[in-house]
Symmetry: C3
């Protein structure tokens, strides 16, 4: 059995906010309580935002087709995976002007658990200059913060139920412009009934006629209850580098968190993750008592760089940490290009990014995940540098 | 009895454009013909704009949740309170780019009777520079005209009917961004069945962790029939100052209006209003025959500055006058800060602004209001200055 | 009989996506299969876009009220009139930021068969400077690419069925701002049951109090099947000029097309069209076999300048040609003003633009149209210049 349901298709004129896709809808007798449905929000800055609620019977995931298939928030076995941004509700991209505040308008809509930064670029705003071999600038373009994809709505959303019970939500988002290249994201989020895990498989295609540059970064953000004083980040990595002088101040405690500190200025650490035999990296955030946590797994092949965003400022201002596997570091694209961290995707080619979340809901879960990180690290040194690396850090 | 009806709540998934809230809906036998309902506009630049129609049986008020709880227009006992902007219909903020035309894109959506300018700033567009004690610029940000609030949609709208018959529409609007502060407007417009008055009570809260700057100005705009040749503005004020050389030209007639004059360049006068015993200032606009008018009352404590915007240009271009109580003058925030007219709102604190309108529908109404202004002024000099004051006027 | 149906009216609260207007709805017994209806798209960047589907029984036309009454695409007797932009679906202007990419954000929504560039300006982005007689700059404003009208939604759409069977869709679009002038487009697209033709009659009015500048250009775009290697453009013109050095390279083949060429840089030719006795110019695009084509007719009086946009780049990037009758050439407005090609429309006046399409669906159709062009040209020289003309080309 492979059953497919179209929740949204601009081309087919479908926008279905009434159907509930569940075992019964699939003609199955027993469903373990899973269901998928789409809701449209009305009012506020959320007006016109579609939310796909995927409940696998244990884990509830809220996807945002309107915001590039981002994941607003999730909850697994009662454990909330979320953070509290000053921007309290999903924001329709129609209300976001990326050029605001000198190019950081992206922050006006930033509140998701998983928010993609890409596809054409991510990172700090600035003027990207492309030079020819002689060093002459042949093109320049101002790139606002973190790219377009989080503010582009999917034009197609499908739910697929596989023979093995896998529940997938597939969304298609185009990032294109006349004379501006074209990239297509085909995002598939998959989970199983009763599971505390879900996986995202993103294909980014280049339907254009010439090679296209791609930068992808998964801004995975956690607040309470996982983040608190004495929460710890466990990651298997060969190198840890502070992004700038401010981060260098805290290098001794780069992977430990504090309670909210009003006025805390963010600290960012860059890492080179270690892959397991299947090519996956692993980062685990555990709470103070090590009885709740989350594992973030990702393909190191296509996401070889990892940013740790420590933002333990006041609760009211967005107490949060970001675990961010990326194809690049979130520096200005010019810098990343110079250091070989921008993907050049040939015409008609595609690159696949994989990211998976697992909720750890008791001490044993956390213990196992931490042990897994340790095993991955085992025998491989983790070099923690006290100063920014000039080829990693554009500071 | 206190009866509450939710017309809109993003959080609760409510957006109700079918209910009519009236005496019957409240279980009352007699209703004096009042009702409240919400309509969603479709098409044009108004697409997706919600209008709350509040009819107290005598006065009809059109509120715009989609535009920061502004008041589009009103009509009291047959007297229209409105003006005719070249922008003919309410504009969804999704279609407004404040950065357009060098930062005056706000004008693309400007046509309300009451339009808030704020919350973080108002006034002329420009680059706001914040300096430290040594005069060094520590931050700068381009601020487009008149702030964000008029282009931010409410995410919650409630109708409350009180025991004493008061009908209130309460809207909540967030002006926030990650790393950009957060301010919340809780706006309550109240009227009574059969009344020719309505009052706005706005609470602006700072849910952020550190003090936030607030500037609020109520752009209250009137065209025909109240504005015509020989209309007069009566205001109790201790000082009147022309904003610039252009306004100085007309200082002798600063409070009298002419018929539309094609090519007329706006003239703005700044005033320091006088408060009555309850702390309220009063401005009255009367028509030529002094048989129709409107009173604008406001708390002088939080709205100590008043701008008179004379814009008696051609009818087709927006023949209009603005009576504008403010926490500041509409200069660039840098200038207002320097002169102590920017509110610093502590974390978790709130500031309340009050504004009330009363329609004067016959000669006796107008006579009483004009007498009230005279009494308020009585014994207190009104200094009318012929030149801009350097600490008021950024010219 | 003149029957009128309102599909959309913001003022009347009408937005009708259920009615089908056809012969039966008009009380006619025989309808030749024509119908008109409006659809609202949901999802993707098309969310909230209204499409009016006009089918005259032979020709199907998709109009876009949400995009300034542009024509998305058409099909006549099985012949598609369209092109394939990298932007695959109609884009709601709420998602278009004209200031993006240095002022070419307009291209984010560009994919129509007929897209208006105007009303206040069109052409390349840049800072328009207005100087007084002494040459002093008295005003300057940055004008992004191709003006506002394609990204302004109609607030009123009516269908009219005339006694003679003519089917018209009339849309009203306002391009106005407080202190920014006001222009109104009343666009009427008319066709007859069974016809392979349709005509657009656009009235642009100036309801403002002073003269307004107007620039209008019809960006009529064709891809396959009409455009292919060896397609030919036939136009009656007295002069053909390459826009710049790049266009000059191809002057020998200015009216012949190639197969898609990856990396092809656009070539633009400017022409002065010849009018027939009724004042109409004619351009005909025919395919390689001269058995399919399209005729574009236009009033030379108000559209005296014609641009040929050759954009035979890779199929995936938007293989396309634009036939563009205009009141100006698409240069920066400053340049066009200097050379007398900007309309000054007096207060309360209007200017009417007429544009008609006819599909040629067999060899005989094409032969007749080509003969018509030849006859129009007959006896009048066509001067083909090898270099840009300094008064036409801002290069």
């Amino acid at each position: 059995m492979q059953t497919s349901f179209v929740l949204m298709s601009v081309d087919q004129g479908i926008h279905d906010t009434t159907s509930v896709i569940d075992a019964a809808a699939c003609g199955l007798s027993s469903g373990e309580g899973w269901s998928v449905r789409m809701q449209r929000l009305s009012g506020g800055l959320s007006d016109g935002v579609d939310v796909v609620w995927l409940n696998n019977g244990c884990t509830r995931i809220a996807l945002l087709p309107t915001r590039g298939m981002g994941v607003w928030k999730a909850e697994s076995a009662g454990l909330p995976l979320e953070w509290k941004s000053p921007v309290e509700r999903p924001v329709n991209p129609a209300f976001v002007d990326p050029m605001r505040r000198g190019g950081i308008g992206w922050l006006d809509g930033f509140n998701e658990l998983i928010c993609r930064c890409g596809l054409g670029w991510n990172g700090a705003p600035g003027t990207d200059k492309i030079t020819d071999e002689s060093g002459k600038v042949v093109s320049e373009q101002f790139l606002p913060l973190h790219g377009r994809i989080a503010n582009l709505p999917a034009h197609e959303v499908t739910v697929e139920i596989a023979d093995d019970g896998a529940i997938s939500v597939v969304g298609v988002v185009d990032e294109s412009s006349m004379f501006g290249g074209r990239l297509r994201l085909i995002s598939r989020l998959t989970t199983y009934p009763g599971s505390t895990s879900f996986e995202i498989m993103d294909e980014v295609r280049n339907p254009g006629s010439s090679p296209a540059e791609v930068e992808m970064l998964y801004h995975c953000n956690f607040g309470r209850p996982l983040l608190e004083g004495n929460s710890v980040l466990h990651i298997a990595a060969s190198e840890i580098v502070p992004r700038n002088a401010r981060a260098a101040e805290g290098i001794a405690t780069w992977n430990r968190y504090t309670d909210p500190e009003p006025g805390y200025a963010e600290q960012v650490y860059f890492a080179r993750p270690i892959a397991d035999e299947s090519g996956r990296g692993l980062a685990v955030l555990s709470n103070a008592d090590a009885d709740r946590g989350v594992a973030v797994r990702f393909d190191v092949d296509t996401l070889p760089w990892f940013s740790v965003w420590k933002n333990t400022q006041a609760e009211a201002d967005g107490y949060c940490t970001g675990l961010e596997p990326g194809s690049s570091f979130p520096n200005l694209k010019t810098f990343e290009r110079r250091h070989g961290r921008v993907i050049s995707l040939p015409s008609d080619a595609e690159v696949t990014f994989r990211l998976a979340f697992t909720a750890a809901i008791d001490s044993e879960d956390v213990r196992q995940l931490v042990a897994e990180v340790a095993e991955l690290q085992s025998g491989r040194p983790m070099v923690v540098t006290s100063k920014p690396r000039p080829d990693w850090c554009d500071c």
